[in-house]
Symmetry: C2
Subunit: 197 residues, 2 copies
DNA sequence: CTTTTTATGACGACTGGTCTATATAAAATG
DNA sequence: CATTTTATATAGACCAGTCGTCATAAAAAG
């Protein structure tokens, strides 16, 4: 009894505030890092009361990081798949993915890069749950790229290798691009990858 | 008279405590990030009193970051040159550099990676002085690699491109390696670089 | 109206970086 | 050797800000 058949929609508002919170957290973590962003700042940035954080994330700040990682896994995963579906060759596929990140850089005046790498460096060694979430996120992205490369005719094992190299080069380029506020590293990586695909 | 000819050695002890502080800071920043390491932790890790920090670094915590970056620029720069001098080919040169970082990873149980990348992500957008120091550091390393590649017979412009790609791939591989606690990404990058040198 | 779910903001215990005032050691001077 | 002047080092107070908790308010349900 007391089946909740009529209340599958009760979480509507809760979900939106929760996802609003993770969206804001993702933005701020990207710009300033995880530790540097306080809960106060997070709340005031979204006009949310401070107490509500601990309603949506009972386990505290680290839970927010995990939510951000999973959100980023989803969003960027979707972007990769979209780029793959729209591309007509390995080369244009890789170019589209790289350009996606270039867009993030320019749009944020080089304050934002990969939404996960900062969390990775700050928290990988501190919190095993977060480390696991990040690892799965990176794996997911690489798998998506690998699969798409295979569909473009690449050998499975070389496709996996290429995906790994592309990931590493892109992450590194994002760091470099942010410090020198220039798209040059991204362009160079894109060129190299296309050349050696 | 009263010439200070006899006092060029007065700074001896001061220099050692200062460099001790930067060494400890580099270690802790690598593992936990810049913001996560408090000055208290920094002092107690080196058995130094808290107050002494502001004698050696009057401008505060950010000054420590700059000192760390410059120290890393020097140390890793030296390591690159040493690897270049000992190598007998482009391939063995690159392999030696990559293996140097692999050593850092293993030695620290995958808690430490590049001493500068964390600072780059946390502080590039916050402090222009630090951003400049980091940019110069990265440039320095890449220039050293470029020059060595040229000395191994590479064309100047392709040498520069290769150095940039190598840097990006290595930085990315270090992030990935830390999250999955595995040398695999480094090995893959090393293999790829040697293959496409 | 009563009960349960959802949401909130004031509060506390604590740590953060910074600074000023003081102590110690070294050099210079007489 | 004694004294003054400088360089080096230390201790602790300070306030702003941290995260997390909890007693309560609003909304929904019964």
């Amino acid at each position: 009894m007391s089946t909740k058949q009529t209340t599958p929609r009760r979480k509507r508002k809760g979900e939106t505030t929760k996802s609003k919170l993770t969206a804001i957290a993702m933005d701020l973590f990207q710009r300033k890092g995880f530790v540097a962003v306080g809960l106060n700042e997070l709340c005031s940035a979204g006009d949310l009361p401070k107490g509500s954080i601990y309603y949506h994330f009972p386990k505290g700040k680290n839970d927010i990081a995990i939510a951000v990682v999973e959100q980023a896994k989803q969003e960027i995963g979707d972007a990769i798949q979209q780029a793959g579906a729209a591309a007509d060759s390995k080369e244009s596929f890789v170019a589209a993915v790289v350009q996606g990140f270039a867009h993030i850089l320019v749009q944020s005046d080089f304050e934002k890069g990969c939404p996960v790498s900062t969390l990775a460096l700050e928290l990988s060694a501190q919190d095993a749950d977060i480390a696991s979430a990040i690892s799965q996120c990176f794996d997911h992205w690489q798998t998506l790229v690998t699969d798409r490369l295979i569909r473009f005719g690449e050998q499975p094992d070389t496709a996996e290798q290429l995906a790994q190299i592309s990931f590493c080069a892109l992450e590194g380029a994002l760091i470099l691009a942010r410090t020198q506020k220039s798209l040059h590293p991204l362009e160079r990586v894109q060129q190299h990858l296309i050349q050696h695909l």
